[in-house]
Subunit: 741 residues, 2 copies
Amino acid sequence: MNIILKTCQISVLMLLVTMLHAQTDLSRYIDPFIGTEGGGNIFPGACVPLGMVKVGPDCGQKDRNAGWGNAGNIHGFSHVHGSGLGGGSKYGNVLFAPIVGNIQLQDYSSPRRNEKASLGLYEVELERYRTSVRLTALSKSAMHEYTFPAGNESKIMVDLGSFLITSMNIEKQAFVGSEVRILSDTEIEGYTRVRGGWNEGDAYTVYFHAVFDTPAADFGTWKGGKIMTGVKEQFDSGEKTGAYFSYNTSENQKIKVKVGISYLGTVKAKVNAGEIKSWNFDDVRKECADTWNKLLNKIQVQGDEVKKKMFYTALYHCYMQPTDKTGENSKWLSDQPYYDDFFAIWDTFRATHPLYTILTPSVQVRVLQSLLDIYKHEGYMPDARSGDDSGRVQGGTNCDILFADAFVKNLEGIDYELALESMLKNAEVPPGGNEQKVGRGGIPDYNTKGYVSTKYERSGSRTMEYPNCDYAIVTVASGLNKPDIAEKYLKRSKNWQNLWNPNIESLGFKGFIWPRREDGSWLNESEFSVFKSGTWPDVFYETYPWEISFYALHDVPKLVELCGGKDRFIERLNTFFSYEHEGWNQKNFMGLYQISNEPGFFVPCLYNYVGRPDKTAEVVRRLLREKFNDTRSGIPGNDDSGSMSAWYVFHSLGFFPNAGQDIYLISSPVFEEATLLLEGGKKFVVKAKNANEQNIYIQSAKLNGKALNEGFIRHQDIMNGGVLEFVMGSKPSQWARSTIY
Amino acid sequence: MNIILKTCQISVLMLLVTMLHAQTDLSRYIDPFIGTEGGGNIFPGACVPLGMVKVGPDCGQKDRNAGWGNAGNIHGFSHVHGSGLGGGSKYGNVLFAPIVGNIQLQDYSSPRRNEKASLGLYEVELERYRTSVRLTALSKSAMHEYTFPAGNESKIMVDLGSFLITSMNIEKQAFVGSEVRILSDTEIEGYTRVRGGWNEGDAYTVYFHAVFDTPAADFGTWKGGKIMTGVKEQFDSGEKTGAYFSYNTSENQKIKVKVGISYLGTVKAKVNAGEIKSWNFDDVRKECADTWNKLLNKIQVQGDEVKKKMFYTALYHCYMQPTDKTGENSKWLSDQPYYDDFFAIWDTFRATHPLYTILTPSVQVRVLQSLLDIYKHEGYMPDARSGDDSGRVQGGTNCDILFADAFVKNLEGIDYELALESMLKNAEVPPGGNEQKVGRGGIPDYNTKGYVSTKYERSGSRTMEYPNCDYAIVTVASGLNKPDIAEKYLKRSKNWQNLWNPNIESLGFKGFIWPRREDGSWLNESEFSVFKSGTWPDVFYETYPWEISFYALHDVPKLVELCGGKDRFIERLNTFFSYEHEGWNQKNFMGLYQISNEPGFFVPCLYNYVGRPDKTAEVVRRLLREKFNDTRSGIPGNDDSGSMSAWYVFHSLGFFPNAGQDIYLISSPVFEEATLLLEGGKKFVVKAKNANEQNIYIQSAKLNGKALNEGFIRHQDIMNGGVLEFVMGSKPSQWARSTIY
C-alpha cells in the first residue's frame, strides 16, 4: 500500500465521518421556546439560518420584538421578526390570519390553544375561529397551512397595516403606507411600508406575493377600516390596507399558502415564493430543518440530553441573525453580499461572530464584506442596523474589532486596506447630529483630551470602549505595515486609563473608572456611584463603574497594575463575582456581575490572565448552571441576537475568545467530548476526561498530545484541526498558574 | 346708493377684472426653448407648475440634467427631470419610445426632426423610425401621442434601465434595480430604482403604470439585454429590464398612452394616471396650459412682445421647481405638504422664493411647512434635496433665511418656534462626516474662532454665508421675543468681518475677504488670489474674493466703512461692474461681476444703500439687456432652478428683495405698467411713465400718490395693494440720493 492510497483512504474515511455526522437529525435538541420568556425575547417561529423570513405569531399588545408573547391573543402570523431583541419593536410585517365569520378589523385576534414549536415548525390553534395553523419557512418565503372547520365563512386575511409597536415614546414603528392587489382567486400581492423601531430607522418596504393552493370563492379588500367586497386593489393613500379571500370549507379542510417576501418589489417577491417547490407542508418543513441540521451538525457533543438540548438550541440562536439579504438590497447594486439586522455588533462582536469565524468562516467573511460595502455606499460601517438603515450605536464602533479579529485569524477575501480606511474614519470623523446612528460620538473630546467628557452622552462607555477599537486599528495597521498609524492608535488605546480615578473606594478596593468633566475634574461622589448603570444617554450604557473598571481587554497588565497587582486583582474579581449587594436585582446577577449585558462578558476569563483558571472555571460553571436552563426563561436576559447563547456555546466547549485578539481563554469544558467539523474538512476535538458537574477543574491539558500548560489556545490551534484533551477533577489544581501576559 | 352696495359693486368689478385677467391666454409668450442651450439647462418638455412629472426627451449622451440636449439622437421620452441644473445629472426615469422594426437594445436612439415646444406641449419626429411624438403632462402623469407609419412592426418600448448619467467620476447616477409587468394588451407597470446624481442621494424608486388606448398585437419584455417575446414580467435581479408592445398600424395611426408616475407604488401610479380624464391629447394639453395660464396671469405687464416673451418665460421657469410631491412621500406619513427637488435653496432663497412670497404666498407657506416636516423626520432641513434625499450644501444653511423672510413678511401657518429650533440646530450641531449633505460644516471653527479656517472645505464661502444665516436667527428669535438668542447670534452675524484682510490690495482698492488658517494667520498672497474661484471643496464656492467681499447683506454699513466709506465703496462697485480683466471669461461677466452665479445676485442693489439708485439702474438694465435674450442661449449660465429667471422677473418689475429682510431695493422698471394680482384679490401696480430702453433712470416716484424718496419699498407696500408710480428719464436724477442705512 503506497502513501497515496493511504491518503485516499484517510480522505474517504474523513468523508464518511463527515457524511455520517451530516446525517444526524438534531431536531430533538431544538426547543424554539427556550428563552422566549423571562426577557430572553427569543423568536419561536420558523426560519432558516440567517433567513430573511422569520414567520411567527404577533401576540397581545404587539409590543414584543419577537412578535410572540406568552400573554394575550394571537393577531395573526407575520413574516419579518428579530430574535433576542429589546427596545422598541421592529418589523412584524405582512400579517396573515385564518378566520371564520365577519372580519372585525378593530380586533380580529384570537385566544390560542396547543401552541407548539420545533425545528422549522410553529403550530397553534385559534380558539375564536376554530382554525389551526402550521408555519414553516425557507430563506425568503414562508408556507402557512390553515385548517378550517366546515362552513362558508372561512377566510384568510392579509393585513398590511399591522406591525409591531411599543408603548415607549421613542423607537416607535410608524406606518408609512401600503398597497394590495388581488391578482386572481389564488394570488395576491402588495407591500407595507413602515419606519422607526429600535434603530429609529428610515422607512423600509416589505413586498409580498402569495399563492394559495385553493381558489377563493370570494374576496375583498379594505382601506382605512372600510371593507370593500369584490374590490381587487387598494392604492397607497397613507391609510392601512388589507385583503381577504373567502372559502367554503369542509370540516378540517386545509388551505395552504406560499408567501414570498422581498425588499425590492412584488415580482421579486413572487420569485421568492417560488423557493418553495412543493405544496406538501412537511416537505417544506423538512427542507427548513435540513438546513439547520447541516449547520448544527458542525458541532458534535457527547453529554446528557438536557445539556445537548440547551447547547444546540443556543447554537440555533446564534444563527437567527444577522439576516442574509444578498440580492435584496434596495439601496444599491453590488457584487458583494448584503446582510441586515445587526442588533447590535456591540453585542455580537464578543462571541457570536468569533463563533462564526470558527464554524462558518465563509459566512463571517461574507458578513464582513457586506459591512465594508455598507461603508462604501453610506460612509460608515454600522454598529447596528435593521430595515436597511444603520443605528443605534451603543458604545464603540465595534466593526473595528470584527476586522481585527478577522485579520489575526487570517480570514481571506476581505479588503483590509478598505477596512482600515473605514476604521480610521470611525476614529477620526465625528458622525454628526445623531450620535446614536453611526461612528464615534464625542471624539472631539476623546481625540484631544484623551477621554470623552460628561458633556457628551455615554461618556463613560465611550471612553472605555474606544480604546479597544483603537487597539483593533493598531492590529490591522501593524499587519498592513503602517507603523505610524499603529503607533498613534496604540497611544490612544491607553485612553481608558484617563478615566481611572484612584481615589474612588468601594468594598475595600480603591481606584475605579469614573466620569470626568470637560475641564478635567471628576464628578463628585455625591453625583455618581460605582453601582450606577444606565442606557442612552447616561454615562454608562448597560454597565456601571464596578463592572466597566474591568474593561481593558487589550491592556490587562496595566489594569492589573492599577488594581494593585495580581493578588489584589484576584480579590477584586472574587468580590465582583460574590458580593451580596443589598437591594441589587439578583435575577441576572452573580455578585456584582451581570451576565445579562455584554460589557461584563469577558470578565470571568480575566482570572486566566493572572494564573487562576480554576476561578474562571468556578465562575463560568456556576453561571452556566444557575443562569441558563432549558425552560422558556432559560436565558439570563435578552439574548441580544444570540450573544448570550454564543457565550453559552463557547463556555460549554471550554474556551472563550478575546475578540480582536488571537487568543481563546480556557474555561471549563462541559461535555466529555465535543467535535468541531471545520470548513475544509478538518476536525477539532475537545476531550474532557471525567467531565461532569462536579469535575469542573482542569487538572492537566494536552494539545495534540503535547502538554498544554497555559490557560489559552490560539486560533490556528483550532483551525489546523487536532485534539485538545483535558483531565478534569473536582478540586482546583495547579494547572496554568502563571500569568498570561 | 349706500356704502355696502358700493363695496359690492367694487368687489364685483374687481372680480370681473380678475376674471378678465385670468382668461388671458399667455401661451404665445412661453417659449420652452429659451435657456435650453448656452448652459441655461432649461427643461423644454411638458409639466405643470411645480409638477412631479416633467416629461421630455433624453438626448445624446444622456448627460444633461434636463434630459434634453441640442446635440445627439433622442433615446426616448422619460418622466422625471429637473430644470436649470448643473452638476451630475439626476433622474430621466421610465423612458418610453415609439419605434419601428426590431429593438436594438444597445442603441435604439434616433435623429430628430421638427422639434417644437410650447406651453404644455413638446413635439418631435424620430427620423429613424418615421414616427412622431407629442407629449403633455399633468401633475403626476403624462400623455404621449405617437404617430406611426403603416406596418406590422410598430412598437412602443418602455425602458426601465434608462436614466441620466454624467461623465464625471462623482455625482453619478447608478442603477439599483427594476421590475416590469405587462397586465394586459393595454396596461403595463413597474418601477426603476436609481441612486446618486448631483446630490449623491440615496436610492429612489419611480413606479409607473401606463394605459394605452390601442390593444397591442404582441408584446415582450427584456432583461440584461435579452429580449423575451411573449414574456409578461421581469423581476428585480439588479439587471436592467424593459418591455415593448407591438402594433399593426395603418399610415399615420396614432397610439396614445397615459402614464402615471408614483414614488409609492404601482397601484398609486395607476391612480395618478387617472388624473388624465380624456383620451383627447389636446384636451389634456389645454388642461396643462390652463394651469400655467392661471399662474402666469398673476402678473400682467404692458410692453413689447419680445420683452413679454422673455418675462413670462422667466416667470414660467420660476415655477418648474421645487416639485410638489404631497401624497407621494415614501419616507413618512404626515399631514404636512411635501416638496422635493430643491436644487438648491442656496440658489433660490435669494429671489425665487421671495417671488413666491409675493405671488403665491400659500405655496411658499406649504414649501416652508414641508421643510420643517423634513427637519422633524430627518433631523436637518435640507439646503438641497432631490430623490427624497438631502444634499448638497453649497454654503450656508439657507433655509434659515427663508424662515426669516417669511417671518418679516408675516407668512401665516408656519411653526416659527420649530423653525427657530431647526435653525439653531443648523448653527450649533456639526453635521458629521458628509459636510455636503446637511447643516453647517466647519462650525467647530466658526463657533469658537469666529471664522471657518482653511482646515475645512469651502472655508471662505462658509464664513461669509453663515453670518447672514445667523442674522436670520436674530430676526426670528427677536420676533419670538428671545433676546438672549438674538443677542448671541447678532454677535456671530458679524463674523464675516473676521475674514476681512485689510492688507490685500487689488485694482486700487484695499481690504478684501481672504482665507485664514487655523492659527489665525492669513494665506500668503502667493497662495491665493482675489480672482480665485472654485467649487467643492475649494475656499470659495462659485465666487471669489473680489465678489464675496460685497457679501454682507445684513451688515452693509460696516461693509461700506471697511471699504473706506461711501465714496470709495461706490468706486469699488464701479470697478467691479466695469473692469476689463484680461483673460477673464467674459461670457457671463460684466466687469468682475458674474451674473451666472448667485453670490453676486444682490451686488447691483448695494448702490441703493449708498444713495446711487441710478447706478443700480444702469448696471441692472445693462445686465437685462446684454445677458438675457429670447434665444435658446438666453439665460446667462445655469438657471439654477429658476434663480436667474427670478432675478430677471424682479428686476423687470423694478425692484429686488434682500432675502430675509423686509426690504425691496428699487432698480429700474422695464415695463410701462405691471400689475400683480395678489392672493386675496388685491392688486399692486407698478407704473413707469416713459419707460423704455433709454429712459432707465427714475426721476421721481410715488407710492399710492405720496412721494417716495427712498430707493426701497417694504413687503406690506406690495401686499396691501396699491400703485407705485415712477417717472422715468434718460439721465440720472437726484432721486433717492440719501443712504438707506
